[in-house]
Assembly symmetry: C2
Homo-oligomer: 199 residues x 2
């Protein structure tokens, strides 16, 4: 029958994620995508559509491949507050050191992108927030069941707090914040959620 694609769309998506994440989607031209993926404009447009669709597809893939696994692990981790502390330690380490230091988080970065008005992209932003908040909520519930949490803490509000904190960490890390500051900021929140006995 017809010809078949000469490339793997998922591999191409991974390369686009990397590009949009490091450089910023708004300031990345199609020519750069062509160069990074090795594809031609034709293949790009035939497979994904225009630039907004490209950005949306890359964002979805980031959520599924980078965010979701971490969220799922956090939600499934039964240790309670130590799991949340570990989440932030891993986060700060990934944002401030290694190959992706100072890249921030693609979802966080997209919050300020012009494309945030596109409904396809806004939906991913909202889905990300809901998933992050749900994972935090699950970890807080485990903490409450283990008696680690101070009485009177609203778990829903606490989950929102931790999500907002993660956005703050991602944002500041892209501008070169020091890991120690970010870690101390996260620890102060968790200490405030802890029972006096456990603290």
């Amino acid at each position: 029958m017809p010809d078949i694609k000469h490339f793997d769309p998922e591999v191409a998506l991974d390369q686009m994620v990397r590009l949009f994440w490091e450089r910023g989607a708004d300031v990345t031209g199609i020519a750069e995508v062509v160069q990074a993926t090795g594809l031609s404009r034709s293949s790009l447009y035939a497979t994904f559509g225009g630039k907004e669709r490209l950005q949306a597809a890359a964002l979805r893939r980031y959520l599924e491949r980078c965010s979701r696994p971490v969220f799922d692990a956090l939600a499934a981790d039964g240790r309670g507050l130590p799991a949340i502390a570990g989440f932030f330690e891993q986060l700060v380490a990934a944002r401030c050191a290694g190959e992706r230091a100072r890249w921030g988080c693609l979802v966080t970065n997209t919050h300020t992108s012009a494309a945030r008005e596109v409904s396809e992209i806004r939906q991913v932003l909202d889905a990300h927030h809901a998933a992050l908040r749900a994972a935090m909520r699950a970890a807080l519930e485990a903490a409450r069941d283990r008696g680690q949490v101070r009485p009177g803490l609203d778990l829903e509000a606490g989950a929102e707090t931790l999500a907002l904190l993660a956005y703050g960490v991602n944002l500041r890390s892209r501008a070169g914040a020091r890991a120690a500051d970010l870690l101390a900021g996260a620890r102060a929140v968790l200490d405030g959620f802890t029972t006096t006995e456990e603290r």
Copy 2:
């Protein structure tokens, strides 16, 4: 002697702040600045320099006119935790309602801009963070002196926490977060900082 400027540079700056803030500096072209200010390219370049200089000047003006007064008021407010609570209530209200709803914060938005690498701009980002953190620190000290703060709270870390939280609020508000969620998130942090008696 020579001719004199036919416009007020500060008024023009205010119009640029508004433009960059609402639309995003990266995706705003010089032509839009020309239209918004009513100036010609010549006057723009003669007065401010190229686009990065424009962006830096607008960012500095935002800090001085929008951020600094609020920070100063917070630092001077002796009420302690209620002052911080009031800060977040005002912040959420300004970000989620009124003329500038969903604009976020120009400084927060600039953290993900391509121009964050420009040293002139990075300096403003860092200055903003230092000022915000110092104001939070001052308010926390007042709270400690009034016995509102739980024993063992590291004020420096707590100030960083509150600053990160503010960035999170600004970021999420630009994507349309609900005011109630943001407020609840802020309140949970402050509750965690409060002594059991005051809570």
